[in-house]
């Protein structure tokens, strides 16, 4: 039940914030694109999705680890469950765990956030169940490390140097620790695949990893790996929205040059 609490003197009684009307329009437009593409997918329409080298390399990395008899290190980053990058990472980890279970290799998932750890453990267990090998799931393969950024780095780089994993997969939200992890992984000779939604960390991954999923490719990855039509439809909707955004940006710039700044002002978020 919601408790009443001390409120500021000037109470806002409006039911809609007009400065956020543009966000609402964009949301409704995106939902429309989503439903149109889901309907297209359900009717059997073809959905072309550009191949992502980083994702095709995932199979190669898991295969390499199997051949070498070494583990795969999967890092979900420092994001908590409020970060969309973490949600995307959980989905990708599920797909990777399924392949790991099928091939009978091992995977380690050191976690920074205890909530993420609990969810990832459940997802990994389910992947083994779906693979028909629930008893092969190694307890503790998804484990908590620390909620201190550099304590986490020290522990994970320690795992890299001692256990020498064949493949390091970084998917999720990363901050200053990205280069520590990727550079140490590079020193150990592991094949490295990264996916990150933070623009500031992407250059580090590009420098130190073999393959990098840039920004939106992280979100597309889960749908891409699964190849289910409805999931692919969401990527198509995303592309339609991106095209609309590009058209609106160009149109607002053209109108601004003609002395009509209204569209540009409407697109500006508060």
């Amino acid at each position: 039940m919601v408790r009443s609490r001390h409120m500021p003197e000037a109470l806002n009684t409006d039911l809609f914030d007009p400065t956020r009307a543009n966000v609402l329009v964009a949301l409704l437009l995106f939902l429309t694109f989503l439903f149109i593409n889901i309907l297209r997918a359900k009717k059997g329409g073809t959905m072309y999705i550009r191949p992502l080298p980083g994702l095709t390399a995932l199979d190669e990395a898991i295969g390499r680890a199997t051949e070498m008899g070494k583990p795969i290190l999967y890092m979900p980053g420092l994001g908590d469950m409020s970060e969309v990058g973490t949600l995307a990472s959980i989905t990708i980890m599920g797909r990777v765990a399924r392949k790991v279970a099928d091939l009978g290799t091992t995977m380690q998932v050191p976690c920074y956030d205890p909530v993420v750890m609990t969810i990832m453990d459940g997802v990994a267990r389910q992947a083994y169940r779906e693979s028909g090998r629930p008893d092969d799931f190694p307890p503790g393969s998804v484990h908590y490390v620390s909620a201190q950024q550099f304590a986490y780095v020290a522990a994970v780089t320690g795992i890299m140097l001692r256990e020498r994993p064949a493949a390091n997969i970084y998917m999720g939200t990363f901050y200053a620790e990205s280069l520590f992890l990727a550079e140490t992984g590079n020193l150990t000779g592991a094949i490295q695949i990264a996916g990150c939604d933070k623009v500031t960390q992407l250059p580090f991954f590009v420098c130190a990893c073999d393959y990098t999923l840039l920004g939106e490719e992280l979100f597309a990855a889960s749908a891409y790996i699964g190849r289910e039509p409805v999931q692919l439809a969401t990527i198509a909707a995303q592309d339609w929205a991106k095209l609309t955004a590009a058209i609106l940006i160009v149109a607002s710039l053209a109108l601004l040059a003609l002395g009509r700044p209204e569209l540009g002002q409407f697109l500006r978020t508060s």
Binding site: L24, F30, T91, G94, Q126, P139, Y144, A154, L202, Q238
Partner: protein, 206 residues
């Protein structure tokens, strides 16, 4: 079996989206309350995290896996610091506070300082002129580095302005393109979860 969690996700997700557009004070109280619940959930999850940490390191010690003495130190520290925190608290003047200030904080600072060396080694590898793109990156990086230090202005007074242009025009254009993609991807993922299209976080493929 999974309908319940999906419905809860839909209800909470839809409510939070609606609350974003409603500035009414009562709606904002609800919003703050929902966000506070996340802290409570986190506190309980921390117990699970501690158990996981203990089990992982206990297994390493039991099986004498390489580096097991470090695990022993981790377990001893976990018990000691938690015990001291429960008995004395964590405020200024307590042992936990002293441990944090004299051990944890300097170690974290040292780790952060090491980042400069990692940047140097990564840059060395990235800036090898293997092809046209890598050469372009190398030339831009060299110009950027010269333009950001005092000698740059000495060599050519326009250097600082040129590097500012590099950052504010071509670099920012690329960053914004990625940011727009990330924003749309985040909205797409959020909607997939709220609408129940994406259920893998429940431990289930779709």
């Amino acid at each position: 079996m999974y309908l319940g969690p999906v419905l809860v996700t839909f209800a909470v997700g839809a409510a939070l989206i609606a609350l974003f557009f409603i500035p009414h004070h009562q709606a904002q109280v609800v919003n703050a309350e929902i966000l506070e619940w996340a802290t409570v959930v986190y506190a309980f999850a921390l117990i699970l995290g501690s158990i996981s940490l203990w089990n992982t390191h206990a297994r390493k010690v039991r099986n004498r896996i390489e580096g097991w003495p470090f695990s022993l130190v981790t377990m001893a520290t976990l018990v000691t610091v938690t015990g001291l925190g429960v008995v004395q608290g964590t405020g200024e003047g307590t042992v936990v506070y002293a441990i944090y200030q004299s051990v944890n904080a300097p170690l974290a600072s040292t780790m952060f300082a090491l980042l400069a060396f990692f940047i140097a080694s990564a840059a060395f590898r990235a800036f090898r002129a293997r092809n046209l793109e890598a050469t372009l990156l190398l030339v831009t990086a060299v110009l950027m580095m010269i333009g950001r230090v005092s000698i740059g202005e000495f060599l050519w007074p326009g250097f600082p302005a040129f590097t500012e242009w590099l950052l504010d025009v071509p670099n920012l254009a690329a960053k914004r393109a990625i940011a727009i993609g990330v924003g749309l991807g985040a909205v797409s993922t959020g909607l997939k979860i709220i609408l129940g299209i994406e259920r893998s976080y429940l431990g289930r493929s779709n």
